[in-house]
């Protein structure tokens, strides 16, 4: 019966042959037509050995070497090749226990049994000496040379930043980085990463099936050589930075000094700090955790760029400049001070006893609260503007032209905006347009919602010394060659206050030091301009603030000092600023008593002795 279906054998055989021939066609395509698979196969056998270039060096403004490299070694392991190792001996050499050894080997095996992975990272040259002699005993282990960051001076940790292994997120976004590569994570290591890192090289080695090195691939035709990173010339003065950190011992706060004509940062001190060598090499992870857990000193926090303070009386200088620009204030304007500025509800903004009435210079010199409350009130109530809001917007625009309330764009990552409140902010708090000059009067004396970073304060000093302009502060003055210029910082920012209004303010600042609130800062050989400030702090004692520049005729340094919870501006910030200026301009400090008192003052966990408050020349501001 089924004989009639015998011809179906042809269909069935035909179907078998069709599939078989289709597979042969597919084989032809996969094995002969396309190259994709043979290339991938090569990738499985060729080993790409990365040549890590030395990172660029960093010098200070006088040519001193600040950051350099030291040879370090990564101990690598190929798990498949590890055979009966003398575990204890190896553990002893690199200082781990057996459990850790097994754990690391397992981790490496999980990554790949055939490819090398890092077993112990960044072994220093000293430890490597011992390891090298015995390495032949440990089959499957070899070393790959790396470089380790080293710092000549244990200072400016926040500015230098640190490097670490590139994380998965970075590797995903940037094809340059591979697992195990290093990348700048903070500071200039981060902001100048692409300049400092140089270019990795690649040597391609052929390995046979037993994983024996068979030499370079095609006589090194496809190898690339590494290129060392480019050196950076910093504007930092290492001596000054070191001196500043010394002065800030046991104090919370910052010192920022700028060369006014160029915007170059001479020092950026954030205290408490740490030795940058702590975050280099294989000790980084451990030390980083320790630093991170220190909630008393918070050493990783870069106060110079990230701490916001009300500027206190230093902001009166801005009032004086904006008031003149707005036409509501002349150098001759006099206001009386009945011991404070009445707020109309029985309360008042207090002021300390001083002669009255005062003109503008006298008001700066004595730092009269009443005077500058009136100046601020006349700016906001200016009839020229149709509303309080418009007047405030004009004030805000001029204030922000000094670099407040926005990032200055410096080349150290992490900078914060600071805060000059928007009209919308007051709308939200008091109702739309339901706020008046008296509502926000505390802005006039640099208190209230205003927030300014130390670097912005130093920039204010630079702006005044330049009579109305600034270059954005920056820490790297030249890239690659010492005499080149960092072109990213060649834009001159002009402040919205006419240069002619600055002279009177500068004169007032000079008087602050010669016979005002900041006489403690006086240096006999140098004519200095300064302004004290005391920032009210709802969490504790006031912050002591001082800004200054010197010499008056041809300013070389503009500086801001903030000492947290240290009282009046004249108590700590002014003398520290003065010592810094003396150090920078005269290269040596003659006032050893003052210097000792500043260095030894402990404002973090030591109690401030009463006697320190009784110094005759410390005046409230």
């Amino acid at each position: 019966m089924e004989r009639i279906y015998a011809d179906r054998k042809y269909i069935i055989i035909g179907f078998f042959l069709l599939i078989g021939l289709f597979y042969i066609a597919r084989l032809f395509y996969v094995q002969i037509m396309v190259d994709k698979y043979i290339l991938s196969a090569n990738n499985n056998v060729l080993r790409y050995v990365t040549q890590y270039p030395a990172r660029g060096l960093v010098f200070d403004r006088t040519g001193k070497l600040l950051v350099y490299n030291e040879a370090a070694y990564d101990l690598m392991v190929i798990p498949r090749q590890v055979k009966n190792p003398d575990t204890m001996a190896l553990c002893h050499l690199i200082g781990i226990d057996k459990a850790e050894f097994i754990n690391r080997l397992k981790k490496a095996r999980n990554f790949s049994p055939y490819r090398p992975s890092i077993f112990e990272a960044q072994i220093t040259r000293d430890s490597y000496g011992f390891l090298e002699e015995k390495l032949f005993l440990f089959q499957g282990f070899f070393v790959q040379s790396r470089t380790l960051r080293k710092y000549t001076y244990p200072v400016a940790a926040h500015t230098f930043g640190y490097i670490g292994e590139a994380g998965p997120d970075v590797i995903e976004k940037n094809s340059y980085y591979r697992p195990g590569d290093y990348i700048g994570i903070s500071g200039i290591e981060k902001s100048y990463e692409e300049i400092l890192r140089g270019k990795k090289g690649m040597k391609i080695r052929v390995f046979d099936v037993l994983n024996r090195d068979k030499g370079s691939f095609r006589e090194g035709k496809y190898d690339t050589t590494s290129m060392a990173g480019t050196d950076l010339y910093s504007s930092l003065d290492a001596e000054l930075q070191q001196y500043g950190e010394k002065l800030m011992t046991n104090k919370k706060g910052s010192i920022v000094a700028i060369e006014p004509q160029s915007g170059e940062l001479l020092c950026v001190v954030s205290s408490p700090s740490y030795d940058p060598n702590l975050l280099a090499g294989n000790i980084r992870k451990k030390n980083y955790t320790l630093l991170l857990q220190d909630t008393v000193y918070v050493p990783l926090f870069n106060r110079a760029l990230m701490a916001m303070y009300p500027p206190g009386s230093t902001f009166k200088l801005v009032d004086a400049l904006v008031g003149q620009q707005e036409g509501v204030l002349t150098p001759q304007t006099r206001y009386g001070c009945p011991g404070g500025f009445p707020l109309g509800n029985g309360k008042k903004v207090g002021c300390h006893p001083h002669p009255s009435p005062l003109d503008l210079i006298g008001a700066i010199q004595i730092s009269c609260n009443s005077y500058f409350c009136r100046v601020f009130k006349s700016i906001i109530d200016n009839r020229f503007y149709p509303s309080t809001r418009k007047a405030y917007e004009s004030w805000r625009k001029e204030v922000m032209s000094f670099g407040f309330g926005k990032r200055l764009g410096i080349d150290i990552p992490g900078e914060l905006n600071g805060n000059i409140p928007t009209p919308a902010y007051y709308d939200k708090y008091h109702g739309v347009n339901r706020w008046r000059s008296m509502t926000i009067i505390s802005l006039g004396i640099g208190q209230g919602e205003i927030g300014i970073t130390p670097i912005q304060l130093a920039n204010l000093a630079a702006v005044i010394s330049n009579k109305g302009w600034y270059y954005a502060p920056h820490i790297i003055r030249a890239i690659g060659r010492k005499d080149s210029l960092n072109m990213a910082y060649s834009t001159k920012h002009i402040v919205l206050v006419d240069p002619r209004y600055f002279d009177v303010v500068i004169e007032g600042m000079a008087d602050v030091v010669t016979g005002g609130t900041g006489t403690i800062a006086k240096i006999d050989s140098i004519t200095m301009c300064g302004k004290t400030g005391t920032a009210q702090n709802p969490h504790g004692k006031n912050h002591s603030i001082f800004i200054a520049f010197a010499p008056i005729s041809n300013p070389k340094i503009a500086i801001a000092v903030v000492c947290e919870n240290a009282g009046y501006g004249a108590a700590w910030a002014a003398p520290i600023a003065s010592l810094m200026i003396e150090k920078y301009l005269n290269h040596s400090v003659k006032r050893k008593d003052l210097e000792d008192r500043m260095i030894n003052g402990n404002l973090i966990n030591g109690k401030l002795p009463e006697s320190e408050r009784g110094q005759g020349n410390i005046l409230p501001d």
């Binding site: 019966m1 054998k9 078998f16 042959l17 996969v30 396309v34 499985n44």
Partner: protein, 419 residues
């Protein structure tokens, strides 16, 4: 003593020759796949190639044993053998050992025995027996149901062992149905439906429906345009559309994520080379790097580095592709095609219906394994773990395939006596 002289005189040496060649190719490639410089000895029983050597010797003894048994035994005891292995399949679910997620193994003297491999042989015997019965005609609905049940029983039990791959193999026997006179529509559907399913996932559904509509229109236009034809065309059209939508729905809503992933990998829509696509990609790399002549015996790098998983079992063809190149792999494919064609031709010369259907069953099972296994290594078929007959590492599969083939060789050698 005519029979004694006859056994070796009348057996088909072409089939035996192909069989031996495949077994040797298999052993050489298993040796290459697991080659390790510390273990040179080819009979080292701690190594897979040593074990496979033992398996081969046992397989040859099994083949000889099969050739000695009276050929009538297989048709007479077909139902008994079928029943026995069905019973074993059920037993193994409860007392078996779990290997790689499927519970289909007996542990006997340190070796794993997988009854599912032998059940294929038993099922082919039973099916041939049933279809060989004089009054059975597959074109009758009753017979079709019975024949289908013979196939589906073991398939379902194997499915319960979580061995999807082996279960699907039983469906290959639909080729035997076709030869027995089943309308061509059903085997055709076995080919058309997967194609339609793939298209349902690859191209927009509405476009596919439009294409089907045009096809239906075309058939209508060229048909005799009688009512019966119109109803048939409409039914097929609606069935296809329903199938397209149900495939889409089940992939999106019913399948487990890892199964969905495998489907996407197969369709080239997923390039997750570390995950589900890893095996296939590494397999293609190994085969592709073989080029025309291959890298030579033991010179493969991909296989040696264990880049390809399941190198000696399901992915053994990678080693062939890498070390023997296009030349070697094509010859292997042609050997298989020769084997299948030879079996079909021999089946057709049988006078006994049992022997003929048995031959078709053998060819179907072997072909299905070949098509799925090599298709999988070439990225053309889903990753279903079934062995390449006679070549893949493993005792059970080698023995079962050997017995499967040699029963046929035995039947063929006796074709004049069997009616």
């Amino acid at each position: 003593m005519r029979e004694d002289k006859g056994i070796f005189y009348r057996i088909d040496w072409v089939l035996v020759g192909i069989y031996l060649t495949l077994v040797i190719i298999g052993w050489l490639n298993i040796y290459a796949a697991v080659f390790n410089e510390n273990h040179h000895h080819i009979a080292d029983l701690t190594q897979k190639y040593g074990k496979q050597m033992a398996f081969i010797i046992a397989a040859i003894l099994l083949a000889l044993g099969t050739l000695i048994i009276d050929p009538k035994f297989f048709s007479q005891f077909a139902w008994f053998i079928y029943g026995f292995f069905l019973f074993m399949l059920v037993i193994v679910i409860f007392s078996g050992r779990e290997v790689a997620g499927s519970k289909g193994w007996f542990a006997i003297a340190g070796f794993g025995i997988q009854p599912a491999e032998f059940a294929k042989m038993a099922t082919v015997l039973a099916l041939a027996k049933y279809l060989g019965t004089l009054d059975v005609s597959i074109s009758r609905f009753r017979s079709l149901v019975t024949a289908s049940a013979i196939i589906l029983f073991p398939a379902i039990i194997v499915l319960l062992q979580h061995d999807t791959g082996s279960a699907i193999v039983f469906l290959a026997l639909v080729i035997v149905f076709y030869r027995a006179g089943l309308t061509g529509f059903i085997p055709l559907a076995f080919i058309v439906l997967p194609v339609l399913g793939v298209l349902a996932l690859l191209i927009p559904k509405l476009m596919l429906v439009a294409v089907l509509l045009v096809l239906a229109g075309g058939f209508y236009f060229y048909s005799n345009q009688k009512l019966r034809t119109i109803v048939l065309i409409s039914a097929v059209f609606l069935g296809s559309v329903g199938f397209v939508f149900s495939i889409d729905y089940s992939v999106k809503h019913i399948l487990e994520p890892h199964q969905r992933n495998r489907i996407h990998v197969l369709l080239g829509q997923n390039f997750d080379l570390k995950g589900a696509g890893y095996n296939v990609n590494q397999s293609l790399i190994a085969i592709g790097s073989g080029r025309f002549f291959g890298k030579g015996f033991l010179q493969g790098t991909q296989t040696k580095y264990n880049f390809v998983p399941e190198q000696s079992t399901d992915f053994i063809f990678c080693t062939v592709g890498e070390e023997w190149g296009f030349l070697g792999s094509s010859i292997l494919v042609l050997l298989y095609l020769g084997l299948f064609t030879r079996i079909i031709l021999l089946a057709e010369r049988q006078r006994s219906r049992f022997s003929r259907f048995y031959g078709y069953g053998v060819a179907s099972i072997l072909f299905f394994h070949f098509a799925i296994n090599i298709g999988m290594t070439l990225g053309l078929m889903p990753v279903i773990g079934i062995p390449l007959p006679f070549v893949s590492y493993g005792g059970s599969s080698l023995w079962a395939f050997t017995v499967l083939l040699f029963i046929f060789i035995r039947q063929d050698s006796y074709r004049y006596e069997l009616v």
